[in-house]
């Protein structure tokens, strides 16, 4: 690993997950030295815990956060609005691995869905055609199954129930992927041994993460200065309004200043806007890159919900990969269903520890234990669909709660849009029908978990007054400031976002490398 002096104006990347980790590898591969500031520790596969609560304690982002709004999470998990990872690799350590691409119409949400009351829909300034080559490169990086000649994952027990149900209710577009977990050895990492625990880091490394691919390869270039346990707390700028340094706190609580020629922020959709808001100044009184007042707004978390169903006979859903099944038949914009946008159904398995905590938060008594007693015969799926951006769904700085450094905690405000509620209700009914078609003797509608898909909050827009960054993820207000994570999503689409975050980062890194080489930054 190289060492870059604190007073050497470097490309500084904040965060090492899907966006930051990809930026680090793509830029160093192109010969550009980078400092990577990661708030969490560098956990290695041998450190990962195959135990749900132990792993949660090891890697979850547990810094102080507050919640508001009518969403269920604010009631059940008021201090835990999201379920993200604080470690090198970020939330790719935790992700389950589904890699659908966005569909063409999903880049044109405003044009396709029209004017939806209460929603701040906007078309992306880029199209699927712009993204297609980068999607291919991202799939090759991740090793997505079912794409570009890679083998599909085999059917596990949870998938057998899911796929048979899909067939019986008339769905056609079901498969075991695409997923970012190797079915066969690929890219130096082994094929799956069906050991599950994808949410806990995957000790076998069959699952892609930037902690097992991009970060080690960036370090191998000799151009990456990775600083774990380094939490960025402020971005500063010079008299011209260009960013010039990042202040960060190390693991011992000491404050440092890293000079910067370019800053790429990739802290996920809570910490990225929080950092910009905390980086206010006389020149930028509403926060850095926030002349539009859009920083922190249009927070999206995907329409989610789960369906657990139990049967007369055993399923053992926990055996094998956590997610390894997808149904795409509900993926179209068909307003006759009572909502715009579409959703995927994806297999999902939890262990008893997490199932007890999340199947119906707060529930107790015989009806609860009856579900837990059925654990062995249970199958599960996750519903993930597009939710509507709303200006009032928003990350703000708390005026009362501070984090461990005495800095304002982020508050996450969220209210479901009526479109979200209509889609979730419809999807639950479809999921119940699917499981009943293969003999379910009981089903349960599990409400959304603390958010794992966190989107928007620094959205990409053609016009500076509508959003925070342009089509390259470059801040409209600050030419050498980039946002490199899911915060840039203009709208959320229905697809699990990691593939798109990686594809956007590869595209952004290519652009940024060109700009640097041409002396434009």
């Amino acid at each position: 690993m190289s060492t870059i002096a604190n007073d050497e104006a470097a490309v500084v990347i904040i965060g090492s997950g899907a966006g930051g980790g990809t930026m680090a590898f793509e830029l160093t591969k192109a010969g550009i030295p980078c400092v990577v500031l990661e708030a969490g520790p560098f956990l290695k596969p041998e450190d990962y815990e195959n135990d749900e609560w132990a792993a949660f304690g090891q890697m979850a982002w547990l810094d102080a956060r507050t919640t508001s709004g009518s969403w269920r999470v604010a009631k059940d998990f008021s201090g835990l609005p999201t379920w993200l990872v604080k470690a090198v690799g970020g939330t790719t350590t935790h992700w389950a691995g589904a890699t659908p691409r966005f569909l063409d119409y999903e880049f044109k949400a405003r044009s396709t869905y029209g004017d939806i009351a209460g929603a701040t829909l906007l078309d992306w300034p880029i199209s699927l055609d712009d993204m297609a080559p980068y999607y291919t490169r991202a799939e090759d990086a991740i090793g997505s199954t079912h794409t570009n000649g890679r083998a599909p994952l085999p059917a596990n027990n949870n998938y057998k129930v899911f796929a048979n149900g899909a067939e019986r209710v008339g769905y056609k577009r079901y498969a075991t992927g695409p997923y970012g977990t190797n079915a066969e050895p690929y890219d130096g990492r082994p094929g799956s041994i069906q050991d599950g625990f994808n949410f806990q880091g995957d000790k076998n490394t069959s699952k892609w993460s930037t902690a097992v691919r991009e970060i080690p390869r960036a370090l191998d270039t000799g151009l990456c200065d990775l600083r774990a346990k380094s939490h960025a707390v402020k971005i500063t700028h010079d008299a011209s309004g260009k960013v010039d340094a990042v202040l960060y706190v190390d693991g011992d609580g000491n404050l440092h200043r890293q000079a910067a020629r370019v800053v790429c922020v990739a802290g996920n959709s809570i910490e990225t806007p929080r950092l910009l808001l905390m980086s206010d100044s006389n020149m930028f009184p509403n926060g850095l890159a926030n002349s539009s007042d859009q920083v922190g707004r249009n927070y999206m978390r995907h329409l989610t919900g789960s369906m657990y169903a139990w049967f007369e006979k055993p399923v053992h859903m926990y055996r094998g990969e956590t997610m390894a099944g997808i149904i795409k038949d509900e993926m179209q914009n068909d307003p006759s269903r009572g909502f715009v946008g579409g959703y995927y159904m994806e297999t999902l398995a939890l262990g008893p520890a997490f199932l007890a905590a999340f199947i119906e938060p707060g529930m107790w008594g015989p009806d609860f234990t009856k579900m837990m007693d059925a654990y062995c015969n249970m199958a599960g799926m996750w519903i993930v669909g597009e939710d509507m951006p709303q200006a009032t769904n928003r990350i703000t700085l708390s005026d009362s709660v501070k984090d461990q450094w005495g800095l304002p905690a982020p508050n996450v405000h969220f209210d479901d849009h009526p479109n979200d509620v209509a889609m979730r209700t419809y999807a639950y009914e479809k999921a119940e029908a699917l499981y009943k078609s293969v003999g379910a003797i009981g089903t349960h509608r599990t409400p959304p978990y603390p958010s794992t898909h966190n989107l928007g909050t620094c959205r990409m827009s053609a016009n500076a007054e509508d959003g925070v960054v342009n089509k390259w993820g470059q801040a409209h207000d600050v030419p050498n400031l980039f946002v490199s994570d899911g915060s840039v999503m203009t709208t959320g689409a229905a697809a699990n976002p990691t593939l798109t975050i990686v594809a956007l980062a590869i595209r952004q890194a290519e652009h940024l490398a060109g700009e640097l080489k041409n002396g434009n930054l």
Binding site: N50, D51, E52, W53, A54, G57, L62, D76, F77, S78, G79, L80, H146, P152, L153, P154, A155, N156, N157, Y159, K160, V161, A163, N164, A166, E167, K172, R173, Y174, A175, T176, S192, I193, Q194, D195, G196, F197, N204, K313, P314, V315, H316, R319, G320, G351, P352, A353, A356, A357, P361, G362, W364, G365, P366, T369, M372, D373, Y375, C376, V438
Partner: protein, 167 residues
């Protein structure tokens, strides 16, 4: 692990959030609340009624009781709430109630900080217990055993084998 469990608790039992720190002497004193035989039996009865599993013996429930007492002893405020909750159960004759009456009584106090302290700790301890996993049919981690690839990940035989790619 304790960090994460307490974290979940914060969200589910806001009244029980620890707000102040106390000297180690007073915390040790507080830790003895609920440690007498009658209190232990009452708490055990309470959580068996809350989470009735005919197949579980007392051992995992007793481990949950220990976890609850551990958290309840972390602050004077929690200890007071815990002691008062137990005293109210005693006063209500909870130990003598049949299952239906006991369930109804717990329903009547489910909004209290005491109840939520107990509930939040049972949910993160009882179901995180290897003995409970075995009874529920969960075989747990498999990495050290070579995964489930040769240990039944696809052994479901009561449905046909489906295709794994799109048509």
């Amino acid at each position: 692990m304790n960090v994460s469990r307490r974290f979940i608790l914060k969200g589910t039992a806001s009244a029980a959030v620890i707000g102040a720190s106390f000297s180690s002497t007073s915390v040790r004193a507080a830790a003895s609340v609920g440690a007498d035989a009658e209190s232990k039996a009452l708490l055990l009865r309470m959580i068996r009624v809350m989470y009735p599993h005919a197949k579980f013996d007392d051992a995992p429930y007793e481990r949950s009781c220990d976890a609850i007492r551990g958290v309840a002893g972390k602050s004077i405020g929690q200890s007071l709430m815990f002691a008062e909750g137990l005293a109210e159960l005693k006063a209500a004759g909870f130990a003598e109630m049949d299952d239906a009456d006991a369930l109804a009584h717990l329903k009547s106090i489910e909004g209290t900080g005491f109840f939520q302290l107990v509930r939040g700790n049972v949910i993160t301890s009882l179901y995180n217990d290897p003995e409970v996993w075995e009874i529920l049919g969960y075989e747990g981690p498999s990495f050290d055993k070579g995964g489930y690839i040769n240990r039944g990940f696809n052994d479901l035989d009561w449905l046909p084998d489906p295709r794994i790619t799109e048509l």
